[in-house]
């Protein structure tokens, strides 16, 4: 645990209605999602302020992906509400949410295998409706020169790590205000994970709000300032990330100590 910041006793609360700050841009209340009668989320509350870096950790099947999919508009709600910058968005289809600045990098990356790298990146700008995206495309290529080298290749021919870079680069071109990342470290070599998280940190520095979902809890807590622990479709714990990293329950259940 030496890699983690020093213990901090301000944090850990058991409150389920945890608020990262006042005046949130994203407010989720009593969120319920179910698949064919099986509940995946059973009343989740969370609030995220503009420019925050937050994460949701939890075991496989805790409901992390369902939460992100519900936020992005890929799953219908069985109850509850989602407010984005004061507007109810839970009835909107995914493309409308993308056009309002919410971008999901889905689990398994979801790159278009039979489009070129360049086409994949350009399609990220579809949500922006005609604004110029050349600066953002240039930024993606300078941050991830591997993609620049492969811009005319079909995305399906890239390695897993390159596909993850492409998925993140594609999201950057959408110039989102809220970036939802579903397991960006999954299946990648440690070196690649480091590169990907450096890119994510860069995006956060530009003021983009980041909501990260990770099974790699150590990594997630280290890269964020606030975290929720999801268990069985409910928020079990929440608090600032460094505090949670020292919580004995979190250490035992998710950090393997």
């Amino acid at each position: 645990m030496t890699a983690l910041p020093a213990p901090d006793d301000r944090a850990v609360t058991d409150s389920t209605a945890a608020r990262a700050v006042a005046a949130p841009v994203l407010e989720v209340r009593d969120l319920h999602v179910s698949y064919g009668g099986v509940a995946a989320l059973k009343g989740v509350d969370l609030a995220v302020s503009a420019g925050a870096r937050v994460c949701v950790i939890g075991a496989n099947g805790a409901g992390k992906s369902s939460l992100l999919r519900a936020l992005a508009g890929l799953e219908p709600l069985a109850g509850g509400s989602i407010c984005w910058r004061g507007e109810r968005i839970d009835h909107l289809p995914s493309f409308e949410r993308a056009r309002r600045g919410i971008s999901l990098v889905p689990e398994g990356r979801g790159v278009f295998a039979r489009l070129t790298v360049q086409e994949n990146i350009r399609i990220g700008g579809h949500a922006r409706r005609g604004q110029s995206m050349t600066t953002d495309i240039d930024r993606v290529y300078s941050l991830m020169p591997r993609l620049a080298q492969r811009r005319t290749q079909l995305a399906g021919t890239l390695s897993g790590g390159e596909q993850q870079m492409l998925a993140i680069g594609r999201a950057m071109v959408a110039a989102p205000e809220l970036l939802l990342l579903d397991e960006p470290s999954m299946g990648l070599a440690p070196m690649m994970v480091q590169t990907i998280f450096e890119v994510i940190a860069g995006i956060a520095q530009a003021g983009v709000t980041i909501l990260l979902v990770e099974q790699n809890a150590r990594l997630a807590l280290r890269s964020t300032t606030w975290a929720w622990v999801l268990d069985g479709g409910r928020v079990l714990l929440s608090g600032d990330s460094s505090g949670l990293a020292d919580d004995p329950r979190v250490r035992a259940a998710y950090l393997g100590d």
Binding site: A72, G73, L74, P93, S94, F95, A98, R99, S103, L104, P106, G110, F112, A113, R114, L115, E119, R122, I123, G124, H126, A127, R128, R129, R170, A174
Partner: protein, 307 residues
């Protein structure tokens, strides 16, 4: 040799028409995984509505070029609208249903259009008024009419335009993205329902144009003409690799050639037992051979799960 060149010319003309219709099958299959059996009937609606409009325009004293242009525009708009309506009413509600449901619905829509057309236009063969005077040229022993040239040129321009649209425009990229992964396309801000509607609009518009070509070429239209033409165009799409746009073009052309040459030589080859009235057989021999030997088609990518 004269027969050969003549049948080659006829085959290219026929193949151009098949290709235009095959594009509608392949685009819809690519994006929805659905074989839209009603597509052939839109060719019929295109032909019959263009014929009706043409008669009206001529009756009110418009010149031939203006009448043809108006009839074409009207038929394309009607079929495009009809295609979008069919998708909206019959297929979209079944988007998440098992694949068999939209397939059976498509057959139902096909029957509905056929008998709807029979009610409007009767079950008679309707003839084109003898207004088109085509000029015939002799080329290497074969007769070529200006109408044939016009059909091939028109079809080529339409296909080149479609390829450009799909390859080079944002709409084309959105179409290919929706085809590959509709869910992620939505995350990119693409309104996939709209992309699918546009796909139907384009395919149906091309079907209408193909119908007008058939009308001008053969001089008749009939409420059931879309059935056989649709089956053949579907065969062309399968031959080229269903889901592949260049494949539909190639498959259409090849099928036209096979059918023309087959019809030209079947009499000689069988010692007169079978005549050129057996021409329809060739398309289905091709269909069977492709399905047995190369189910993915000439330009298609093999994928067991979709077939």
């Amino acid at each position: 040799m004269d027969i050969f060149i003549q049948q080659l010319v006829n085959g290219v003309v026929l193949g151009s028409i098949y290709a235009l219709v095959a594009l509608g099958y392949t685009m819809v299959y690519g994006i929805l995984g659905l074989i839209n059996f009603a597509h052939g009937d839109l060719v019929m609606v295109g032909a019959l509505s263009a014929l009706a409009l043409l008669k009206v325009c001529l009756a009110v004293g418009l010149g031939l070029p203006a009448s043809l242009a108006l009839a074409t525009l009207g038929a394309v708009l009607l079929c495009g609208g009809l295609g979008v309506l069919i998708e909206r009413v019959a297929y979209r509600p079944l988007r998440s249903a098992p694949k068999l449901a939209p397939l059976i619905t498509a057959i139902g829509v096909s029957i509905l259009i056929e008998y709807g057309a029979a009610m409007i236009w009767s079950k008679q063969y309707l003839a084109l008024p003898p207004v088109i005077q085509s000029t015939t040229w002799q080329l290497a022993g074969a007769a070529i009419t200006d109408l044939q040239v016009a059909i091939v040129v028109m079809a080529s321009v339409l296909m080149a335009g479609l390829l450009w649209l799909i390859r080079a425009t944002p709409l084309g990229v959105a179409m290919r993205a929706t085809e590959q992964n509709a869910e992620v396309a939505g995350l990119m801000g693409i309104d996939t329902h709209r992309v699918i509607a546009i796909t139907f609009l384009i395919g149906s518009g091309l079907a209408a144009l193909a119908g007008i070509m058939v009308l001008l070429y053969y001089g008749v239209a009939h409420y059931f003409m879309g059935f056989m033409l649709g089956l053949k165009a579907f065969t062309a799409a399968v031959l080229g690799g269903i889901g592949s746009v260049p494949g539909a073009m190639l498959g259409g052309l090849l099928l036209g050639l096979i059918e023309s040459l087959g019809a030209g030589y079947v009499g000689e080859l069988t010692g007169g037992v079978f005549g050129s009235n057996y021409r329809d057989v060739f398309a289905f021999i091709v269909l069977i051979l492709v399905l047995v030997l190369r189910p993915a088609g000439l330009l298609g990518t093999a994928s067991g799960e979709r077939a």
